[in-house]
Amino acid sequence: MIFIVSFLVVLMLVGAFAASIFKDLISAVIAAALVSLIASILFYFLQAPDVAMAEASIGAALTAAIFIIAITRTKRHEE
């Protein structure tokens, strides 16, 4: 049990670090959506099903969609 949680936390931190490194902005947004998804799984392990549902639907889906629509209206690559 503790190994699963440790593995998920390490994956989340690697995803957050990758979101700061990528130069292509759409890849950075997908890494941030991965961080939100793993945070939703950790919310379920902490016995909070309401918050897990809210984070999965709002954080992982709608935030990524709004970001991608805004990026296609501006530049795609960081300068």
């Binding site: 099903p49 309401d50 549902m53 809210a54 639907s57 709002i58 889906a61 709608l62 969609a65 709004i66 629509i69 805004a70 209206r73």
Partner: protein, 226 residues
């Protein structure tokens, strides 16, 4: 120079946070208010989901503030983006038959699922915000898959305003009949049934409509190249 100062600031913040995090024990009960809400929750509100009774009944005023913040953000986004300049219309090709039919089949299922989640907010995990977000995801699927359909601006604005108005009107009814704003004036019924918990299902239905149409309006303002 700026990099050195920001790295120094980060080290100081990290030291401060980690030193204070080591003093907070993990897994012990810390407050007494939580125990009070769990013990007296069903008797005073009638809702089986304690988090719902805290969000709508015990701390209902904070939910009114949150609904206001979401409303202001949607209005601000509409005001900033409509005044922008004309963009040239990007050529979009019509979607293929498989994508079009698949989106049209999935759309009513997603709407029904979102409605189920916010109607049963006081019995199972869920509620107005989660259900509204799922409904907005359904509309996003229509925008991405079937490009020719558009949601009418008037219907979405009307649903959003009526949802917010219903919330405030129910609070005022509570003021008239109970003595304080948002008091629970409908009969509480027995727990674990659909028609129980007083005004909580009605408020969550209003919040579900409002959040769903608000997030749809945000996506519509961002996509629309007017």
């Amino acid at each position: 120079m700026r990099r050195i100062i920001s790295i120094l600031l980060l080290v100081i913040v990290a030291l401060g946070i980690s030193l204070s995090l080591a003093k907070i024990p993990f897994g012990t009960p810390k407050t007494k208010v939580g125990r009070y809400y769990i013990n007296k929750g069903i008797k005073e509100t009638g809702a089986a989901n304690i988090v719902t009774s805290v969000v709508v009944n015990y701390r209902g005023f904070d939910t009114l503030g949150e609904v206001t913040v979401l409303f202001i953000a949607a209005i601000g986004l509409g005001a900033v983006l409509t005044a922008s300049g004309r963009e040239k219309m990007r050529k979009t090709e019509p979607a293929s038959m498989v994508l079009y039919t698949g989106c049209r089949l999935l759309f009513p299922l997603i709407i029904i699922f979102g409605t189920y989640i916010f109607i049963h907010g006081h019995l199972t995990p869920g509620g107005g915000f989660q259900g509204g977000a799922i409904i907005a995801s359904g509309f996003l699927l229509i925008y991405l898959g079937c490009r020719e359909r558009r949601i009418s601006r008037l219907a979405s604005n009307l649903a959003e305003s009526l949802g917010g108005l219903l919330f405030v009107v129910i609070g005022l009814f509570g003021l008239v009949s109970g003595g304080y704003f948002l008091s629970n004036f409908l009969p509480k019924g027995t727990a674990n049934e659909l028609f129980s918990a007083g005004i909580i299902p009605i408020i969550y239905i209003a919040i579900g409509f409002k959040v769903g149409s608000e997030l749809t309006g945000i996506i519509d303002n961002l996509i629309e190249e007017s």
